[in-house]
């Protein structure tokens, strides 16, 4: 089956999740990936949205973090203060799945402003739950489209902490969780070097060249010693994703 680069990205991100994960889900690409995992290989994954819904199983992707679908299909729904205090800060989340506008080579993320904070070129929505998800979830996965404006050498603003300046900077800042362990893009998959914590390409999606990845990255991107080719989406994965997207478009008043 033919597939798009966005479908490859979503499928690759979904595969990173396991049935036993308790996943704090960001809206947009992370939400699509997490629900695809639930609809394919990880039917019992626990998905938590910051609006308070725990173990939700939405039929369609929510447009917002608090669509009614999330509450109606959840095991339980708690208040937002409880969500951040007991569940996130309390250490109950195994994976925080984030996106953002900009990311750097150490997995630090910007979703606040492009340009100076007091005189922004672009004012973005802001961090929401991300600053504390990034430090309180046991591990962070990131899914983002790759391009030189998003994958930058220096962030305009650090909204959430990745590996800071690399090496043990995260521990020096008093953070005990693992931080970003995976970045999935529409071109490749990256993982952090165990020592320097700089992200390196470990798998390239079929049909993508190293030159394309270099051109789409604002820092001198490194490739792991052994780089794999990402397995193409299976028909089962693609059919589940497309059915999910079609249900979602119909539910949100789009032309299907």
């Amino acid at each position: 089956m033919d597939y798009t680069s966005t479908e490859m990205m979503t499928v690759a991100a979904a595969r990173a999740l396991g049935n036993d994960d308790v996943c704090f889900v960001g809206i947009g690409l992370p939400s699509a990936a997490c629900n695809l995992a639930r609809l394919t290989h990880a039917p019992d994954i626990t998905l938590i949205y910051e609006s308070g819904t725990i173990a939700t199983k939405p039929e369609v992707l929510p447009l917002s973090i608090g669509d009614g679908e999330l509450c109606e299909t959840a095991l339980t729904t708690v208040s937002v203060p409880e969500m951040f205090r007991y569940w996130l800060q309390g250490g109950r989340i195994s994976i925080g799945f984030l996106g953002g506008a900009q990311i750097d080579k150490h997995g630090n993320i910007n979703s606040t402003v492009i340009g100076p904070y007091d005189d922004p070129k672009v004012r973005l929505p802001g961090g929401g739950g991300a600053p504390e998800i990034a430090t309180s979830a046991e591990q962070i996965f990131v899914v983002m489209k790759q391009g030189p404006r998003g994958f930058v050498d220096k962030l305009s603003f650090r909204t959430s902490l990745g590996h800071g300046e690399g090496y043990d900077d995260r521990q020096k800042k008093g953070v005990t969780t693992k931080g970003p362990g995976l970045i999935v893009t529409d071109l490749c998959i990256m993982k952090p070097d165990p020592v320097s914590k700089e992200f390196k390409v470990v798998s390239i999606h079929p049909g993508i060249t190293r030159e394309q990845i270099v051109a789409a990255t604002g820092w001198p991107i490194q490739f792991a010693d052994t780089v794999e080719e990402t397995v193409v989406p299976t028909s089962v994965e693609l059919e589940a994703l497309r059915a999910l997207n079609a249900r979602t478009a119909a539910a949100h008043g789009d032309q299907a």
């Binding site: 447009l63 669509d67 009614g68 606040t112 961090g127 504390e132 902490l161 008093g174």
Partner: protein, 282 residues
């Protein structure tokens, strides 16, 4: 004890120029009708607080009611930017907008501290991030028992909190079900409060004993405004109007189309215009 009032009376009596106002609702139960009444009554100099300011706060900002916003995520969820908020931040139209920016964890904790009568909230947060450098209200504190450095922010104590809820009884006891957000904390943290509801009933009959109830004596005013959360939604009554959230992107993009929409749909209408949405059962 809560007074049962009309929306016009409640806003006239309880929302004042220069107030710090929280109109909460975490996607669900956003008090649109009440916010529109604030715009119609031309309140100015407001500091508006909300974790997730969306279209309603875009409207208040674009209509010139607001001097300052305190928030943690400002956008049109799943759609994009708030164009009126961006215009105010980037181009000072219709006037400059001061911002105090936090994370969700900070604001949720700050409301809870406000409801608890505490001066500040303490939590494990803001580690290694730049918000600390641009918001002087983010400080740190050392745990006297473990020595751990923790973040501290001032508690939120609004002059008035406005929320929408599923229903109330005639004594003003308020029932909230579905996504409960931070509304209970926001009401209990405030000096005054307005709760608009879908309906006022003789008996609340909560669906379970654990459904969130604000006793009437914690609320200043209760107002029946059927459909008053549209285009947000009410659990069990009507769905979120996701198509409208998408349409808003076009309406708000230009100053002219924004002002025309506000004139036709807010300034020249009243809360009764929301009744049509109440009947659209999900």
């Amino acid at each position: 004890m809560a007074r049962i009032m009309t929306l016009k009376e409640a806003v006239a009596d309880l929302v004042r120029d220069g107030d710090t106002v929280a109109m909460e609702g975490f996607t669900h139960l956003i008090p649109y009708a009440a916010g529109h009444e604030v715009i119609r009554q031309k309140r100015t100099g407001l500091t508006i607080i909300r974790m997730t300011p969306d279209i309603l706060y875009d409207q208040l900002i674009g209509m010139g009611c607001v001097d300052k916003i305190v928030f943690s995520w400002g956008g049109n969820p799943g759609v994009g930017s708030l164009h009126r908020m961006r215009d105010a931040v980037e181009k000072q139209w219709p006037k400059p907008l001061a911002i105090e920016e936090h994370s969700h964890a900070a604001m949720a904790n700050a409301y809870e501290a406000g409801a608890s009568g505490l001066p500040c909230a303490i939590f494990r947060g803001y580690r290694g991030v730049d918000l600390v450098d641009v918001n002087p209200n983010i400080k740190s504190i050392t745990c006297p028992f473990t020595g751990e450095t923790l973040a501290a922010v001032p508690s939120i104590r609004p002059d008035v909190t406005i929320i929408h809820a599923n229903k109330a009884d005639r004594a003003g006891n308020v029932l909230i079900e579905g996504i409960v957000g931070v509304q209970k904390e926001a009401v209990l943290a405030a000096k005054r409060s307005i709760v608009t509801v879908e309906e006022i009933v003789d008996e609340l009959n909560p669906p379970s004993p654990n459904s969130t109830v604000l006793p009437g004596w914690t609320v200043s005013a209760v107002v029946a405004v059927p459909g008053g959360a549209h285009p947000s939604y009410v659990h069990g009554a009507y769905e979120r109007d996701n198509a409208f959230y998408k349409r808003w992107d076009d309406i708000a993009r230009e100053r002219d189309s924004f002002q025309e929409w506000m004139r036709a749909n807010v300034l020249e209408k009243g809360p009764e215009a929301y009744a049509v949405y109440a009947t659209k059962k999900a």
